[in-house]
């Protein structure tokens, strides 16, 4: 994953897209890694992209969170043609299960 961890973000409010996904265990060589790297490359160039965090365990459970300036930036990324195609392939087999949750980040701090 490119970038800092945790992501280095501006002061809230901003938006987060939480994406938990279940891959098959063992990271099978099915083109997923190349797609994931390409999606990072594209997302980071989108207007309104603020950062992301992405973690996956060897059992296939993963969480990616991307951070955006506003809802318009999320919509533009959702409509990017390569992202649309990546989601289609995700539904077709890369993922066994997943969810998408769009959130408004109200506050952020170090505990």
């Amino acid at each position: 994953m490119a970038g800092t961890f945790p992501a280095d973000l501006p002061e809230p409010p901003y938006y987060a897209v939480i994406f938990p996904s279940q891959r098959p265990p063992g990271d099978p060589d099915d083109g997923y890694a190349e797609m994931a790297a390409r999606m990072v490359e594209l997302a980071t160039r989108q207007d309104g992209y603020l950062g992301h965090e992405s973690v996956r365990e060897v059992d296939g459970r993963g969480v990616t969170i991307s951070y955006w300036r506003d809802e318009a930036a999320i919509a533009a990324w959702r409509n990017h043609p390569e992202h649309v195609e990546a989601r289609r392939r995700g539904r077709a087999g890369w993922y066994r299960d997943w969810a998408i949750r769009v959130c408004r980040v109200e506050r952020a701090y170090r505990a």
Copy 2:
């Protein structure tokens, strides 16, 4: 981790606490795993707890997201004495870096 993955949650709105954290690599035997299991046990019993997702890679980067009915439920969990102590120990050495982001989940779906 107990529970389903992705977490099985009610319809939005509800709240999410995003907690990315950097542990030392290799999951050192420093009492962290026992604390983490205890926090799950306690959190799931809290009024207003809806679910959680927690993933950590072998390099030590992890993301835990907990979901709550409302801000009052987040505040009550934040003030739980054992949770306060766990955060103190986290700051004292379990974590190298971390962030906390409190969000209102506006909508959720499968892409």
